[in-house]
C-alpha cells in the first residue's frame, strides 16, 4: 500500500493506493494516527486507487474515526470505487462517504505538511481573572515533621495547587505516605512515595470534594485569564519549560504567574520522593548517598511522546512574590519557580480554544497516569539532561496576586 499526502488548507488529503486489508490495516491506521497526533484533525481519504477493503480495513478506519471524534475533527472518504463504497455502506458507515471534496477546501495544494496551528495562538478567556496565591504548608527538605506543620486542604473547582501531601485522613497514617501532588480544579493526582507504586488520583464526584493532608502546598485560587496553543514550527521543534514560562509572562503581562500545561512531551527531567518525609528523624541535611533512599532522579530525559499535565508557579525577579519554595531556574536565574508534572499515555488534544477542566477530566477518564515529577533543570556540565521540554499543546495561565504578601 502506498500512501501520499497533500495539505489543502485545513484538510489533509491522503491518497491510498493498494489494498486495505489485514496486511496493511495497521500500517494505514498508524500513519493516519500519526497525522492526527501532529495536529491534522481533518482527514480526507482519497480512495480512487483503493482496490479492496476488508473488515480489517474497516476496523482501521474505525480507529481513525474514533481518534478524530475525540478531537472534534472530520473524516471523509472520497472517490471510492463502487466495491469499496458498497462495503462501507453495508457496514453502516455511509456518513464517511462523500461524492466530492468539501466546498471550503482550499485549491492550493502543498506537499509540505504543516499543522493547522502554525504558531502560538492566544485566546483571552477573562482579561481580569487573577489567581490568589497562598502557601498553606511550608515543609522544606529535610525538616522533621510534626502534626502542627500539616494542613488539611480540600480541592474545590477553583483551586490549582502543587506540593507534598497524603490522601490518608489522619497524621499517623499520612506520615508514611507523603508524596508529590498536583491539583487542577478538584482533580488531584498524587504519587505515593514508594519506588514501585504508580501515581493515584482523587476526583470530585457528586458531593465528594477531594481532600489531602499536606505538608507543603502552593495553592492558587481563582480562574485562568489566558490560553495559548503552541506547536512546532520550521525551526522550533520543541519548547523548553523556560520558553513556555516566558510566553506566559508575555501573555499575562505579569511578573508572577501560575500556569497549567497539557502537552505532548519531548522529554521530562525531574525527581520524585520515594520515601515519605514523615519517616525522617531529626536531621535537616540529607547527605549523599543517603539521599538516594529518599529521592529518585529520572537519570534520563523521559516520557517522550507521552502527554503531561503540568502545574507551575513562576515569578520574575522584579515581582514582589518571593518564597523559598520558589527556586531559581538555572536556565534563566531571573525566574524562580516550582513545577510539578503528571504523565499520561498519549491522547490527542482538540485544536483551538479548548476547556481546561474538560480536558483534564478526559485524561483522568483514560489510561491511568504513569508518573509524577517535580521538574528539575539539570544544568550539570556535559552530563546534564537539560530542561524538560514539550512538543505541542495548550497552556492556561493567569497573573498571581499575593494574598499574604509572601516574602
Amino acid at each position: 500500500m502506498l500512501l501520499t499526502q497533500e495539505q489543502r488548507g485545513k484538510y489533509l488529503v491522503i491518497a491510498a493506493n493498494g489494498r486495505l486489508d489485514a496486511t496493511w490495516a495497521d500500517y494505514f491506521a498508524d500513519t493516519c494516527l500519526d497525522h492526527i497526533r501532529n495536529g491534522h484533525h481533518n482527514l480526507i481519504l482519497d480512495a480512487q486507487e483503493l482496490s479492496f477493503l476488508s473488515s480489517a480495513g474497516i476496523r482501521s478506519l474505525l480507529r481513525i474515526n474514533k481518534e478524530i471524534l475525540s478531537v472534534k475533527g472530520s473524516f471523509l472518504i472520497v472517490n471510492s470505487a463502487p466495491f469499496v463504497a458498497k462495503t462501507i455502506e453495508m457496514t453502516g458507515f455511509k456518513q464517511w462517504l462523500s461524492e466530492q471534496l468539501p466546498e471550503e477546501i482550499s485549491t492550493q495544494k502543498t506537499n509540505q505538511l504543516h499543522s493547522e496551528v502554525e504558531k502560538t495562538e492566544t485566546y483571552v478567556l477573562n482579561p481580569s481573572a487573577m489567581l490568589t496565591l497562598s502557601v498553606v504548608a511550608n515543609w522544606q527538605p529535610w525538616q522533621s515533621l510534626t502534626p502542627d506543620k500539616t494542613y488539611k486542604l480540600s480541592f474545590p473547582n477553583s483551586v490549582f495547587a502543587l506540593g507534598i501531601g497524603s490522601a490518608s485522613d489522619n497524621f499517623d497514617e499520612a506520615k508514611l505516605s507523603f508524596g508529590e501532588f498536583i491539583a487542577v480544579g478538584s482533580h488531584v493526582i498524587f504519587q505515593p512515595p514508594e519506588v514501585k507504586s504508580r501515581p493515584d488520583y482523587l476526583i470530585a464526584e457528586m458531593d465528594y470534594i477531594p481532600e489531602m493532608i499536606v505538608i507543603q502546598a502552593l495553592c492558587c485560587q481563582g480562574e485562568m485569564s489566558h490560553l495559548f496553543r503552541f506547536s512546532p514550527e520550521e525551526r522550533i521543534l520543541s519548547f523548553t519549560i523556560s520558553e513556555i514560562i516566558d510566553l506566559v509572562f508575555s501573555t499575562t503581562k505579569s511578573n508572577s504567574v501560575a500556569f497549567v500545561i497539557l502537552a505532548e512531551v519531548d522529554g521530562l527531567v525531574g525527581a520524585t520522593l520515594i520515601q515519605s518525609p514523615g519517616q525522617k528523624s531529626e536531621k535537616d541535611i540529607m547527605p549523599f548517598p543517603e539521599i538516594r533512599e529518599w529521592l529518585s532522579f529520572c537519570g534520563d530525559r523521559l516520557f517522550a511522546g507521552h502527554q503531561a499535565l503540568v502545574f507551575g508557579i513562576a515569578t520574575r525577579k522584579e515581582s514582589d512574590v518571593k518564597h523559598s519554595l520558589l527556586r531559581p531556574l538555572p536556565a534563566n536565574p531571573e525566574i524562580s519557580g516550582h513545577i510539578h508534572a503528571a504523565v499520561f499515555p498519549f491522547q490527542p488534544l482538540q485544536n483551538g480554544k479548548i476547556d481546561l477542566i474538560k480536558n483534564v477530566q478526559k485524561f483522568l477518564n483514560g489510561p491511568p497516569p504513569e508518573a509524577l515529577l517535580h521538574l528539575i533543570d539539570d544544568d550539570r556540565p556535559i552530563v546534564g539532561l537539560g530542561q524538560s521540554s514539550f512538543i505541542r499543546g495548550a497552556c492556561w495561565c493567569a497573573p498571581l496576586q499575593n494574598k499574604e504578601g509572601l516574602v
Binding site: 514501585k196 549523599f288 529518585s296 527556586r327
Partner: protein, 270 residues
C-alpha cells in the same frame, strides 16, 4: 534446600581491573522451586551459578546444599548433586562422541564408573525411549557423533543429560540464549516440562524477562554483584515483564544518581 550465605568473589583483586563480581550475596532456594535470575550483563549471574557449581571457590561465604556444607567441594564432586546446562550449546556434551556415549556418561553422573561395557543394546533401548520423547527424531541417530547435531538439538540433549539422574539442584545458565528463536522456544518448553514432571529444584539465569515471567515461580534480579530485587509468591504471580523493566530502570537510575545530582537536587528540589 540451597542456602547461600554472604558469598563474595572479586576477580583481579587490588588491580585496576578489579571486578567485584559478587558482593556478599545471600540467597535461599526452597525445595521444588524454580527461580529465575535476571540482571544486566556482567551483573554476576553466571558468577553466582559458577560459585554454586564449584567452577571456582568464592573468596568468602558459605553454601549448603540439602543440609551439606559444600563450599570446599570441588566442582566434580558437586556434580553428584547438581545438574548443569550451559549457555554454549557445545559446552554440555563431548562433540566427537556419539549421542549414546554422551548420555551413558550422564546416566552415572556422580557415581562410580565400572569397567563394564557402557553402551550395550539394552542401554541403547532405554536411551532411545527417552530421547524419543524429545520428538526430534534423534532416537535413530544414537550412534552419530553429537557434534553433528544443531545447537538446539544438543541443548535439548544436554538438558536431558543434566536431569537423567534427578539432581538436587538444576542450574541453567542462559541455556536458550545462543539458540535461534524456534529452538529456544522448544528448549524453553522442554525445560518447563522436565522441571514440572520431575519436580526439580531449579535456578535459571536468563536474559529474557518473558521467559522468567513464564517459567519460574520466583524472580531474583541482580545488579553489580548484588541481589537488588526478589519477586516471590504472590508478588511473582502479579509481576509482568513491564514491571521487571521498570525495576531495571529504577536500579539503573539509582546508579546515575551521583553526588552531582545530589548537589543539583539540593538547590532545586523543594
Amino acid at each position: 534446600m540451597l542456602k547461600i550465605y554472604a558469598i563474595s568473589k572479586t576477580f583481579f583483586p587490588n588491580t585496576v581491573n578489579e571486578v567485584r563480581a559478587l558482593q556478599k550475596v545471600s540467597l535461599t532456594i526452597e525445595e521444588g522451586s524454580f527461580t529465575a535470575i535476571i540482571g544486566t550483563n556482567g551483573s554476576g549471574k553466571s558468577t553466582l551459578l559458577n560459585a554454586i557449581a564449584g567452577t571456582f571457590f568464592p573468596d568468602e561465604g558459605k553454601i549448603t546444599l540439602d543440609g551439606t556444607e559444600i563450599i570446599n567441594w570441588p566442582e566434580y564432586k558437586r556434580a553428584s548433586l547438581v545438574g548443569r546446562v550451559f549457555q554454549n550449546p557445545f559446552a554440555g556434551s563431548a562433540a566427537e562422541m556419539t549421542i549414546a556415549e554422551n548420555i551413558v556418561m550422564a546416566m552415572r553422573r556422580g557415581q562410580s564408573r565400572p569397567l563394564r561395557q557402557a553402551v550395550t543394546l539394552s542401554v541403547k533401548e532405554v536411551i532411545a525411549e527417552r530421547v524419543r520423547l524429545l520428538k526430534m527424531g534423534l532416537e535413530d541417530r544414537l550412534d552419530n557423533p553429537i557434534g553433528t547435531l544443531s545447537g538446539g538439538q544438543r541443548q535439548a540433549l544436554t538438558l536431558l543429560m543434566a536431569t537423567w539422574l534427578k539432581p538436587k539442584l538444576l542450574l541453567l545458565d542462559e541455556h536458550t540464549a545462543a539458540l535461534d528463536p524456534k529452538s529456544a522456544a522448544k528448549v524453553s518448553e522442554l525445560t518447563k516440562n522436565i522441571i514440572q514432571q520431575e519436580k526439580l529444584t531449579a535456578l535459571m539465569v536468563t536474559h529474557s524477562m518473558q521467559q522468567a515471567v513464564d517459567l519460574s515461580d520466583r524472580i531474583v534480579m541482580m545488579h553489580r554483584g548484588q541481589i537488588v530485587e526478589d519477586y516471590r509468591d504472590e508478588m511473582k504471580k502479579r509481576v509482568r515483564v513491564i514491571d521487571l523493566m521498570e525495576t531495571f530502570d529504577r536500579v539503573q537510575k539509582r546508579e546515575l544518581f551521583d553526588e552531582s545530582v545530589a548537589a543539583l537536587l539540593e538547590k532545586q528540589y523543594v
